[in-house]
């Protein structure tokens, strides 16, 4: 499946590859920064998985294996851009500045969102597959009307690519030439559904049928993802219209902590992909080409550990919300049924709010 059509700037061993279309524009500091981001996200993910095992989270959606796809895309974004994630975009959230503890509110089941989407210019998670693609195109239509040089990125998976909403969003993005980049992480699986059930041909081709560019990038190659995404965003911001980026990658872990992937996929496949680990790849480059010392790598690990410790502390301190908060923001304006419910709950005495 991985052929010449795939944009790659690094081999799995971390050696540079010449590509006729793209070259890496990043220096040592930036590459090291990407490395750092990836290590932190993996650490965050591991910590969250163990928090879930310990009963501290209701659920967790791991991102192992997809760090390069998310960090490459996330770092290509500009602050003024806006992003529409699914439930698995922890790396993107990290790049947008969302505090890790806020990312976990959804999974601790204390919030259906978790952060201020306008502050971070990163929308709340969309769990219903595909809805966000249309929302992103709409946001991009707003950018056009504002005459702003901004872009929107819509995230979705290989599985969601079959949903009518994602496909309609391609129609609209093309018809209105909206500044939107569709970033599809093809991690080969939609829970137990293999990619082959969603499409017989590489996914990025789908864009061509709608009249805009589609491109497949090695989603485990952070340098390639960064460059491909950056160019698509740059183009979108100045009227170049939409692009579909298919980041070809792999979900090394379970779909979520509720999932049991041994029921539907074989270990050998996972092993193959472990050899394409996105973090090791760039580490090799940093060592070989930039002679980065192991102390420097250790620093990142220390930093990641500290982050994880803090995260754990924050999560444990995250209390069950007062039930009365379920009535807040159900509507923007006062609503009699909401007020009726609020009164009833106060009378029942299950809330800390005092009876009125």
């Amino acid at each position: 499946m991985i052929g010449e059509e795939l944009v790659q700037l690094l081999t799995p061993e971390g050696e540079r590859i010449a590509n006729s279309e793209y070259e890496s524009t990043l220096g040592i500091d930036e590459i090291f920064g990407l490395y750092r981001d990836m290590v932190i996200i993996r650490r965050l993910c591991n910590e969250s998985t163990s928090l879930q095992r310990q009963g501290q989270l209701a659920l967790w959606a791991p991102v192992q294996g997809q760090e390069a796809a998310q960090i490459g895309a996330g770092r290509a974004l500009q602050p003024m851009d806006f992003t529409f994630p699914t439930y698995r975009e922890h790396g993107i959230a990290w790049c947008r500045g969302v505090p890790p503890k806020d990312m976990l509110r959804l999974f601790r089941a204390t919030s259906n969102g978790g952060w201020d989407p306008q502050k971070y210019r990163h929308s709340v998670p969309t769990v219903v597959l595909g809805n966000q693609a249309l929302n992103a195109v709409g946001y991009a239509m707003g950018i056009q009307r504002d005459g702003a040089e901004e872009a929107v990125m819509a995230f979705f998976g290989d599985g969601a690519s079959s949903q009518g909403d994602v496909l309609e969003s391609f129609v609209w993005a093309s018809s209105f030439n909206t500044p939107v980049v569709f970033f599809c992480q093809n991690n080969q699986w939609g829970i137990s559904t293999p990619m082959s059930i969603q499409s017989k041909i590489p996914l990025y081709h789908r864009a061509h049928g709608f009249g805009f560019p589609g491109i497949r990038v090695d989603g485990n190659d952070v340098l390639a993802v960064y460059e491909v995404t950056k160019r698509a965003l740059d183009s979108a911001r100045v009227g170049g219209g939409p692009t579909l980026i298919e980041a070809y990658t792999y979900r090394l872990g379970a779909h979520t902590t509720s999932d049991d992937p041994t029921r539907y996929r074989i270990d050998a496949e996972v092993e193959v992909w472990k050899h394409r680990d996105p973090i090791e790849r760039v580490k090799s480059l940093l060592v070989r080409e930039y002679h980065v010392k192991s102390a420097k790598f250790d620093e990142v690990i220390t930093e990641a550990d500290a982050m994880a410790l803090q995260l754990r502390e924050d999560v444990l301190a995250m209390d069950r919300p007062d039930p009365i908060t379920m009535f807040d923001h159900a509507y923007a304006a006062p609503h009699p049924l909401v007020e009726e419910g609020r009164r009833e709950m106060i009378e029942l005495g299950v809330s800390a709010a005092s009876p009125s």
Partner: protein
Amino acid sequence: MTTTNMTMAKALNEGLRRAMEKNKKVLIMGEDVGKLGGVFRITDGLQKDFGEDRVIDAPLAESAIVGTAVGLAIRGYRTVCEIQFDGFVYPAFDQIVSQVAKLHKRSDGVYTMGLVIRIPFQGGIGAIEHHSESPEAYFAQTAGLRVVSCSNPSDAYWMIQQSIEHDDPIIFCEAKSRYWEKGEVDLDNPPQGLFDAAVRREGTDVTVIGYGSSVKTMLRAADTAVAEGTSLEIIDARSLAPLDLDTMARSLEKTGRLVVVQEAPHMASIGSEIVAELSERCFYSLRAPGLRVSGYHVPYPPSRIEEDYRPSVERILDAVDRVMGAES
């Protein structure tokens, strides 16, 4: 007070125009809303005057019309989505229930879902299938949405403006069979709040509550009833979610008898809610069971026989007789 006489279709058009003049962030989006002015001409002339950026001819995809309006709302725009006919709102159901209704909550109040989804609803125009449906209860049931209905020019003119100004998402149901009827519109002052019911005619014996196309039928029933010596109080619910139960209960305390009229089948409907709520609130004043006069529980029939499906004067009076005769 200066009033102008116009059709309900024209009143909606004028209301939209005024909302667009007042607020540059107001957009209109839908199928055929531009040059054609919509199949009912509600948006006639607006694209010419406000441009293609503000009156947007959509590709034919309802989920996308609503789904992009959600993104526009996040960006600070207020989009009035036109759904061409009631039966074509269902492709957008997922976006409405999962995003429109829930994003304000999910974002902890950061996102304002100030958008309006206009739906020409109910039957009575001799159309083919899917053009005469009553989907209002699907939306009324959904926490996070509000549902209103208009059936005369004054309400049309004002309610559309009030809806656009409102910060919650509003499903705006237009009684399409009333588009061509004329009435007086006071262009200076709204007759009442968006969520208030209106007593259209005072009476003493039976409270008859309905909305949309049924209001006119109810008023005709009231005329006939007078001749038979029965006085009906006619209430136009106007807001279907939330319901103005105070106005309804006040009437019922007086009459002690209730008939609810709607084109939708009665199963888990607005009518069920009104009867259930008023049976609770007015338990000791009710002198007879609250009755519903509704469409039948079958797919909307071919329009040559639709008048036998829609609540008729006869069926309303039949229910009136039953609540009058039920005296204990």
